[in-house]
């Protein structure tokens, strides 16, 4: 079977820096081109040169699939242009900025009969996956409480890419809570295996009042079946924090509890001024790309669907609605 020919549309999402070389080196995929015309055109050009692929201004339709790494407000236009041409879609998160656009994206892919996947990191991390397996085997009993923490550094510190749209109230729309928390909202849905019923959230700009968008928030969600979860997410890690990300999941069931404290295999490095833990292996990125490529090759539903991406977005929008209202809201 031929490798899946994949183009990269846009180079705004920080994940693109990781995914591009992985796609180029993938055993079952080939990178066709990188199309980026915006602020990150220079970054895309350098990456294309490094990987020996063309840098295009516009996406072409000479591919089996695309990875969309534009800013999220542009996702819908790209999907509605490429899906009808039979091109499968890996669309980075958030799937869209509004539920309406998210629905349109899901319908566009469904109508065209192409595969649509949204990559979420915890789904591919070994710790959360180990917990999920035990939940599915019934080892924890009925899930009652889940505590999640997912905080990172302000993405402006990510070297090599202009991610300033993430702190722009119109381009990114969501701030730190949305940027980082969306991964965990999807993970909560996946771990608990139910849909959210009600949510209460407090989201604000307190950590980084200099930014125009929020930097931290906590959501308390009640799920079908009665489980309750908390999620604190945002850009709460100061630059000096030893890891970019601080992520934890604690799941309490009627028969047992499980906890993941840090999702990555690290190496430690220290110099005169600071100590860092660098993620030495990103199995989650490998898992997400493998899953998408496999779904396209075998023509099966990917493990994270467009619908999952849409549900996570709707949950996120409900968090913001609750925070603005100051009361719990129904999903």
């Amino acid at each position: 079977m031929n490798p899946v020919r994949i183009g990269i549309v846009g180079f705004d999402h920080p994940h693109a820096l990781r995914f591009a070389p992985m796609l180029a080196a993938h055993r079952h995929a080939s990178l066709a081109w990188i199309a980026e015309d915006g602020v990150n055109a220079g970054v895309a050009q350098a990456m294309a040169d490094r990987l020996g692929v063309p840098h295009a201004r516009e996406p072409a339709d000479d591919v089996d699939a695309v990875y969309i790494a534009t800013r999220p407000g542009l996702h819908r236009g790209v999907v509605e242009r490429l899906a009808p041409r039979g091109i499968h879609i890996l669309c980075d998160k958030p799937i869209a900025l509004t539920a309406e656009d998210g629905h349109a994206i899901v319908e566009s892919a469904r109508g065209a009969g192409v595969r649509l996947m949204v990559p979420f990191n915890p789904r591919g991390q070994d710790g959360p996956r180990a917990i999920k397996e035990r939940i599915d085997r019934g080892e924890l009993g009925e899930i009652r409480l889940v505590h999640a923490v997912k905080v990172g550094k302000v993405p402006l510190t990510i070297p090599g890419i202009d991610a300033s749209w993430l702190v722009d109230p119109t381009e990114g729309r969501f701030g730190g809570f949305g940027d980082i928390g969306l991964h965990a909202l999807d993970a909560l849905r996946w771990l608990i295996g139910r849909e959210a019923r009600r949510v209460y959230a407090r989201i604000h700009r307190g950590v980084r009042p200099d930014l125009a968008v929020d930097s931290i928030g906590t959501a308390t969600i009640e799920w079908d079946g009665g489980a309750v979860s908390t999620l604190t997410a945002g850009w709460a890690n100061p630059d000096g924090f030893p890891t970019f990300l601080d992520a934890r999941f604690e799941v309490v069931g009627s028969k047992g509890a499980a906890r993941v404290d840090h999702p990555y295999q690290d190496l430690r490095v220290a110099d005169e001024t600071r100590s860092e833990r660098l993620a030495a292996a990103r199995t989650d990125a490998v898992w997400n790309l493998d899953s998408f490529i496999d779904a396209v090759r075998r023509d099966v539903e990917p493990p994270i669907t467009g619908d999952d991406g849409l549900r996570a977005l709707e949950l996120l929008l409900a968090c913001y609605r609750s925070s603005e209202l100051g009361e719990e809201v129904a999903i």
């Binding site: 409480l145 700009r205 009042p209 931290i216 906590t218 100061p238 309490v252 009361e327």
Partner: protein, 338 residues
């Protein structure tokens, strides 16, 4: 000088928290003890060697050789016992939660005011070196303005089915019994009351369903536009959860503070299975915490100086919990009254 103390209530907190403290300090000497269960009172007296057993708290309050009374009984009895002890002319150290209601807590405060006796509530976190060290980092400005405060205390409650801790009217469950430690910590660290509380509680275990007291609670406190605090307490974690008992995270405009119990255990011992050596018989406090609390109580009375945790502080902690409880019942955010 040694403060002569009468103990009311020879239960769990007496045995695990106070007895080791009494043995380790000469700041207080227990001269009398009573308990509704005379056998437990006698056993408590035997643990301490010198105390005589009183038949009732009224008899104990009337003993001559007594400067202060420690109320170590179930929460719903604190107010009446404290008021009676104060009116008998004794200083009082009363275990947390101060009372089962804010109204009762204020009745206790009024009695202390009226009688001119000293009243302290046993908020042990104030005497725990870990939280003192955290607070020092905050007050030194190390992390800037606090934007977010999280505190969890998660464990298995092994109290017997039908016991007072599972009775909503007597303890208020984990929300009151453990939650008040957390609200006191929030008030201590932030120096103000929140505007409002939103609460979710569970009644997950059969003991909780039978007694009506919640066994898990999550409260979000609204401290204004740019600050919130989250309390998470549970009695439904598995019995072996100990090493992960408490988590504290504080995020400020310039940095972040963390304290995890999993990092605090002095040793990991591995035989057929792995086991953390506990840092204290009571997971929630260091071994010397109760001793520090008792010595502070005695020395403040002797010198006439204020307690580090005042009656008003304890009332603030209760006001926060009462608002949280109202929210659990109404399903809406509730204002924190003071």
């Amino acid at each position: 000088m040694t403060l002569r103390v009468g103990v009311v209530g020879a239960g769990n907190i007496f045995e695990r928290g106070y007895v080791p403290a009494f043995r380790a300090t000469d700041a207080v000497r227990v001269t009398a003890i009573c308990d509704l269960d005379p056998g437990r009172a006698a056993a408590g007296a035997a643990l301490l060697g010198s105390a005589r057993v009183a038949a009732s708290h009224a008899e104990l309050f009337a003993f001559e050789d007594l400067d202060a009374v420690f109320i170590l009984t179930p929460t719903h009895t604190h107010a009446d016992l404290t008021v009676a002890a104060l009116e008998a002319g004794r200083h009082v150290l009363c275990e947390k939660p101060m009372a089962r209601s804010a109204a009762d807590a204020r009745r206790m405060a009024a009695a202390a005011e009226r009688t001119g006796r000293r009243l302290m509530i046993g908020h042990t976190r104030r005497f725990d070196d870990r939280w003192i060290a955290l607070r020092e980092q905050v007050t030194a400005g190390r992390i800037g303005e606090i934007a977010y405060l999280y505190r969890s205390e998660h464990a298995f409650n092994g109290a017997p089915d039908g016991g007072w801790q599972w009775r909503d009217d007597q303890s208020g469950g984990v929300l009151w019994d453990v939650g008040v430690h957390v609200t006191e910590l929030f008030h201590w660290f932030l120096g103000e009351l929140p505007r409002a509380a939103f609460t979710k509680v569970l009644h997950a275990r059969p003991e909780s369903q039978a007694g009506g007291a919640p066994d898990a609670a999550i409260v979000t406190f609204d401290f204004g536009e740019a600050r919130h605090a989250v309390l998470s307490v549970s009695w439904i974690h598995p019995p072996g959860w100990g090493p992960f008992y408490a988590t504290t995270e504080i995020v400020g405009t310039r940095g972040k503070l963390e304290s995890f119990d999993r990092d605090a255990h002095p040793a990991l011992v591995v035989g057929d299975r792995a086991e953390f050596v506990r840092f204290s018989p009571l997971l929630s406090a260091l071994a010397n915490t109760f001793r520090a609390e008792v010595e502070h109580f005695a020395s403040s009375i002797e010198s006439g100086t204020p307690f580090v945790v005042t009656v008003d502080d304890a009332i603030a902690a209760i006001d926060m919990i009462e608002a949280a409880e109202r929210s659990a019942r109404s399903g809406r955010t509730e204002a924190v009254d003071s």
